[in-house]
Structure formats: structure tokens, C-alpha cells
């Protein structure tokens, strides 16, 4: 287990270093987040639908699509000079590789989400600061399982011709359960309701995470072996 985590951390650290140096996916995800929030801010009619009702959906749609941009990069860097072959040749388990990639993806998406949340507060005047701790916990809970599935699919499609199109097509159906749950919980949080009222949705998110992190971990080795 120690070896597994040590190697996973090395892969994560390498991915973070590569991304912060090239800034390709991170920049596009952040620009996308800002653009979507600006469009929603200027495109909505605040007198027709109250901001508090609309804001959670806007927030989660933005997070979801921005995450996909970040996920696309997960294995793209490994195609460069066939580095993926090097990783597969190295004496590390496929699980280490998957967890390493998952770790890096979670950091990227967390960065996008933090930035998106700040812009969201700026544009939508929603009292996020009052519920920041439970909101952060729900965001983490809603993100982990989805990113695990995304990392798996990213490995599956990376060698296909239309990888950037394939990933959203495969991923969107799996995104629906955590997306709906996250929106429901966020609505209640912004309305000042206690978390106990959304315990069912929280259980769904936790079950989704456990189920899909486990499944993705088990299936990943088959996606990278010819």
C-alpha cells in the first residue's frame, strides 16, 4: 500500500508540474468558467426567476463542463513522445498510475472550482460565505466519483481519433446522478436549510463515490493494456 501511494503521489506531482508549466488545460478551464458565468449573469432576467433558485444550477453546470476540459488533458500529456509506454513499462502498479492521475485531476478541478466559486459570488450576490463549509464538503463529495469516472474514460479514449468529443459523450450520462444531487443540496444550502433535510442526496453522493472510485480503479488496468 505504501508503494502504491508513493508511486501515485509521484505521478500526481509530475502531472501538476507539467500542467502548471504548460498551463494549457487549466487556462482553458478557467477562461471557460469565467465566460459561462458572465453569460449567465448578463443573459438572465432576475425579475422572472429568483437568483437563489437559478444559481445552484448555473454553478454546477459550469463546474461540470469546466471539469471536462480539465479531464481531457489527463492522458494527453502521456501521448507526447509516447510517455504512456514508459509509465506502463515502469514497475509500478496500474492502480498507482490511476490514483496518481485521479489525484492530479482532483487538484485541477478543485482549482477551477475555487476560482469559479469566487466569480460566482462576485456575479450572483449569493451568500456563499454563510454556508462555505458545507458547500465545500458537498462540492468535494459530488466531484470525487465523477472525476474517477472521467479519469477512467479519459484513459479509454485518449488513443481514439476524436478523444475530445468522445469524452463528454461517454461521461455525461454518468454525470447526471451527482449533478442532480449536488444541485438539490446546493439549493437547500443557499435557502438556509439544514443538511439533515438533504441527507438522502448526501447518501446518494457518498454511494456514487464509493461505487465509481472502486469500479474505475478495478477497470483502469484493462483500459491501458493492449
Amino acid at each position: 500500500m505504501r508503494d502504491l501511494l508513493r508511486h501515485a503521489w509521484r505521478v500526481t506531482r509530475k502531472d501538476l508540474r507539467l500542467e502548471f508549466r504548460s498551463r494549457t488545460a487549466l487556462t482553458s478551464a478557467l477562461v471557460f468558467t469565467a465566460l459561462v458565468l458572465v453569460v449567465f449573469e448578463h443573459g438572465r432576467d432576475p425579475t422572472a426567476v429568483p437568483t437563489l433558485n437559478l444559481a445552484p444550477s448555473i454553478l454546477w453546470v459550469t463546474f461540470s463542463f469546466a471539469s471536462m476540459l480539465a479531464l481531457n488533458r489527463a492522458f494527453q500529456a502521456e501521448l507526447e513522445n509516447h510517455a504512456l509506454d514508459g509509465l506502463l513499462l515502469a514497475p509500478i502498479s496500474r492502480t498507482s498510475l490511476f490514483w496518481g492521475k485521479l489525484g492530479a485531476n482532483l487538484v485541477f478541478v478543485a482549482l477551477v472550482q475555487v476560482t469559479g466559486m469566487l466569480l460566482f459570488m462576485l456575479f450572483f450576490n449569493v451568500p456563499v460565505w454563510r454556508v462555505w463549509a458545507p458547500l465545500a464538503a458537498v462540492t468535494a463529495l459530488a466531484t470525487v466519483g465523477f472525476i474517477a469516472v472521467g479519469t477512467l474514460f479519459s484513459a479509454m479514449v485518449v488513443r481514439t481519433r476524436f478523444a475530445e468529443l468522445m469524452l463528454p459523450v461517454l461521461l455525461l450520462p454518468f454525470l447526471l446522478p451527482p449533478l442532480i444531487a449536488a444541485v438539490q443540496v446546493t439549493v437547500q444550502l443557499f435557502a438556509g436549510r439544514p443538511l439533515s433535510e438533504v441527507a438522502g442526496w448526501l447518501r446518494l453522493l457518498a454511494a456514487y463515490d464509493i461505487c465509481f472510485v472502486t469500479l474505475a480503479t478495478l477497470l483502469f488496468p484493462f483500459t491501458v493494456t493492449e
Binding site: K14, A83, P91, I92
Partner: protein, 226 residues
Amino acid sequence: MLWARDLGHAFGAIPALDGITFSLERGQTLAIFGPNGAGKTTLLRVIAGLIRPLRGAAGVDGGRRAIGWIGHQTQLYNHLSVRENLRFWASLYDVPDRDVALREVDLLRRLGLARQADRQVRTLSRGQTQRAAIARALMHDPDVLLLDEPFTGLDRLAAEELRGLLGEQAAAGRATVIVTHNVEEGTELATDIAFMRDGRFVAYAPRAGRDAVELTAAYRTAVAGA
């Protein structure tokens, strides 16, 4: 040290390997010559464990840890420096920190990259990048070298240097398999020669002092006439 037994593989209906059997001991270098599409790279990938063969088996004593791979694809990350690349790959092989420092200095000096050590790989010339790839492959001191068209893109001088270095590796007791379509490139290094066509060895014999001119004639006969 390295063995293959009755290997068979196909990509769909196209046969890639058919009945390949051989073994190598320490210090032996097998040069496999064949035209494009003969199955040379597939054979190397099967030996390395990157492809699971449909028939037969292949392996290396010591497993993946014992393999060093040098190909025309460098498996280096363009946005990392040469030194960062070497350290990352060494870390996946659990090379102790003290050894990493020593080998890094030694390899960079011998490969003429000491001054480029902190430059990102994307800023290097093709020859320098290939030398960095060689350093990467040797960082964990592998017992077996698998070389896939390692001279591709190198100028005459760089190719000479690579031949010299590979000769040293063989003298140090490493078993080496080199695949190339160019008989002149691999001849000097080889203790054994194989000609490959349509996934099969059409000839396999010790080099027995034959030079590139003799081997080129034999190659033409074997590959054209098989």
C-alpha cells in the same frame, strides 16, 4: 535473461507475429532487421509486456524493472527539464536518491548533456533529445535493453555516439535487442542477427564476423525471397 517462445499475435485479420522463438544471455545483442510492417516493434512490445500475445509467451528475468527501452519516441515530457525527466523516471523505479545523483551526473556527462540538464526537453535538438532518452532508459541500470529504431532522426555524429554507448552497454553485460529496417545501423553492435518478414524470423544466426555489406546482401535475399 530474455526469452520468447512460439509467439503469435495479430491485429484483427492481419498477422503480426508468427512462431517467434529465441533467447538471449548476458552480453548478447540480437539485431532484428525487417521492412516496415514486419512485426519488429510488436515483438519488442510483447517482450516488454506492453502487448499480451495471442499465443506463446515472452519474458525478461527480473521483469519490467530489468528493462530499459530506447525508441524513436523518447518517452520524455517536453515541459520538464532533462534533469526533472531523469529524476521522475528514476523515482518510478525506486532508485535510491544517492544513486540518482551519481547516475545523473555520470550519464549527463557521458552523453554530453551536462550543460543542457536544466533546459526543458522541448528546447533541445533532436539529437540532444535522443541522448536524453538514452539517459532516461539507463537511469535505473537495466539488465536488458530493448531498442526500437533508436537511430531515427539522428545525424551521423550522434548515431556514432549512440553506437559507441550501446557497445559499452553490451560490454557491461546487458542483453540487447535492437530492431531496425536499416542493416547498416545495427550490424556492428550485434552478436546475433535475425531477418524478419510478415511476423516471422526468415533467418536467425550468429553474426560470425560478417559486415554490413555481406549482411545487406543476405537480407535482400532472405526478405525478398522468403
